[in-house]
Amino acid sequence: MTLQLSTLLAQAGNRRDEKTGAISVPIYQTASFGHPGLGQSTGFDYSRTSNPTRLVLEETLASADGGVKGFAFASGLAAIDAVLHLFNSGDRIIVTEDLYGGTYRLLEKVFRPLGLDAVYVDTSDTEAVALALQDPRVHGIFIETPTNPLLKIADIRVIANMARKRNVLSIVDNTFLTPVFQRPLELGADIAVYSATKYLSGHNDVVAGAVVVRTPDLAERVGFYQNAIGSILGPQDSWLTIRGLKTLALRLQKQQDNALLIASWLKTLPTVRLVLYPGLPDHPGRDILERENSGFGSMISFEVDSASRISGILSGLKVFLFAESLGGVESLITFPSVQTHADLTPALRDRFGINDRLLRLSIGVEDADDLIDDLRSVL
């Protein structure tokens, strides 16, 4: 029987504890597992290698994305780190230019010194990607779509297909849309990575990361790094992420409904110059999402008319929390140029359009009118 994603998510971890029948999977807060006999194993030896609670999360992630195997990590960056270890010193990879500042920092401060060369390309420009892929030194492509914070859309299907033909590994950071709205592996990508801190766990109470891979060979290699480097997710945080996944479909629908209302309203304001939301009819990537995905998400970026307004907005909001992160049930507002993207050089920020008038909203599940009233009071 093929189950809908919402069914699969709601029942994650059910029927696992055969002994007690507990509906919710137990939190296996253990380091080691006793062996029934020498050379025998229950399937679990040491929790870094595999832990029953983490395994339920990893299996749920794999089936949600239609991959062969999922892996849970200590943070989104630890997940991305594990994937970047698939490359070698001297390799070159194409990376979405306006990507998350933490990924940029990892590439520039950790992996560039090790000899991995990242070249930054506007991946919403499929022709630019095709051109970059002609470089024979390119071994991988790492796409973020929609991008953070400018919400540009890449055509995963076309890019993954081009990459496959050139034997280039394709990786998609699917944090913003999750398998509920976008399934990169089904579109042809090799690997999906997540900051599970965001929508997957969804309550701003966990820092976690995830990787889902398409082939057994990739599963073996990522599994080796996860165990060798040991950047695993603990049992408590694994359990909280499973708990979050159960309401993922429900949350995302409500958050998207709210986001569409708020984005449309923001566009009517004289103090707002630009509204970036992939669900708006005039968004340049909307067609791709309509064709390949089932939703637009709930991240909105907008530019106000004057930088002098920013401080008053951030301190005047009562419902929106001024904090880093996104994807939780509570709405957050972020000032990308000084928070999430502070590690980019000023020149790069200017080129991408991450200026000092740009604000990013992560829309939660609160009442849409309350959120609009809150924004109205400062705009």
Partner: protein, 377 residues
């Protein structure tokens, strides 16, 4: 302050807002910023979390270092330390280090062109010969696993100073309660906190402490960039474990000492390896640099059939991987920690088919000995 008092009061051991005697588990990813122009002390839990920070402060105090950092496993701590180096750098590593460290060096860091030579750190002259102009660090473990070989910390620091190397050691077996390498001049200490520091076999965690503030800042930047952090629940559990570290180690060490002496008299036992025994070749060196022999010992039976029998018969000691918990654990290096090593190589290192490792727990020593007696007969 007496060291046992320090374990309870290591600095941040009270919640500043409510006075709660235990730091709350800050199960949060992010922190609201009251003022855009003046960021608060915390912005995102990967970069800093109050629960994790209390633990990081505690281990820095206990090791006598400037910066403590908590990671998602001992291997994540060790891997993060190796990220301090660049392609082309060379590191000399003790030949009997933990198998997981060996695996990450040969299976992962080698591909990023970190060059490694394994050398016997118990013999400083041999070890010194492995140093090249590209060498940037030495990495050792003492006592080493599973034969409890001892490395002279002072000799290693001397080598490091002469050749301008970072001196790094894995202090998992001793913990700072028994041995504080930074006080001898080591630069970085790493731990699998899964073992004695956590102490209850109920979590996976790693810790690193640096002596120098600038290396501490570099490693903290790696922790934040690479993101292999320890979650708040596990951070809280390690901190909780540290509060009883002194009493646990004292009792476990006492038991290990009694069992070592008793095993030596058992006719089925060929040899006993324990740094507290008077026939251990480096006992003097060990007791010069540590205040006790620890709670891990190894012993040799005639061969594999005898070991299989022991592991089957024992009722109290748990046959499992890992060590350092309140429960005694018996492990069989030939088929567990060193299974991936070719047999000849393993035998050359003295890890025979009859070798068994015991991590003494908190059970009554008489019960453990009675149980072993039956299983060995």
């Amino acid at each position: 302050m007496n060291y046992r008092t320090k374990l309870i009061h290591s600095g941040i051991d009270r919640d500043p807002y409510t006075g709660a005697s235990s730091i709350p588990i800050y199960q949060t990813s992010t922190f609201a910023q009251p003022d855009p122009e003046h960021p608060g002390p915390y912005d995102y839990s990967r970069s800093g979390n109050p629960t994790r920070e209390a633990l990081e402060h505690a281990i820095a105090t206990l090791e006598g270092g400037s910066q403590g950092l908590a990671f998602s496993s001992g291997m994540a701590a060790t891997s993060s330390v190796f990220l301090l180096f660049k392609p082309g750098d060379h590191v000399v590593v003790g030949s009997d280090i933990y198998g997981g460290t060996y695996r990450v060096l040969t299976g992962l860091f080698k591909r990023w062109q970190l060059n490694v030579t394994f050398a016997d750190s118990a013999d400083p002259d041999t070890f010194r010969k492995a140093i090249t102009p590209a060498t940037k660090a030495l990495f050792i473990e003492t006592p080493a696993n599973p034969l409890l070989n001892i490395t002279d910390l002072k000799a290693m620091v001397q080598i490091a100073r002469t050749h301008d190397l970072l001196a790094i050691t894995d202090n998992t077996f001793m913990t700072p309660y028994l041995q504080r390498p930074l006080e001898f001049g080591f630069d970085i200490v790493v731990h699998s906190a899964t073992k004695f520091l956590g102490g209850h076999s109920d979590l996976i965690a790693g810790l690193a402490v640096t002596r120098d503030e600038s290396i501490g800042r570099h490693l903290k930047a790696i922790q934040n960039s690479f993101g292999a952090i320890l979650g708040p629940q596990d951070s809280w559990l390690v901190h909780r474990g540290i509060r009883t570290l002194g009493v646990r180690i004292e009792a476990q060490q006492q038991t290990a000492g009694e069992i070592a002496l008793w095993l030596r008299k058992n006719p089925a036992v060929r040899r006993v390896f324990y740094p507290g025994l008077d026939d251990h070749p480096a006992r003097d060196i060990h007791l010069r640099q540590a205040s006790g022999a620890g709670a891990v010992l190894s012993f040799e039976l005639a061969g594999k059939p005898e070991v299989l029998r022991l592991l089957k018969q024992t009722k109290l000691a748990l046959p499992a991987v890992s060590l350092g918990g309140v429960e005694s654990i018996l492990s069989y290096p030939a088929m567990m920690s060193h299974a991936s090593m070719p047999r000849q190589e393993r035998l050359a290192r003295g890890i025979t088919d009859g070798l068994v490792r015991l991590s003494a727990g908190l059970e009554a020593p008489d019960d453990l000995m009675a149980d072993l007696e039956v299983a060995l007969t």
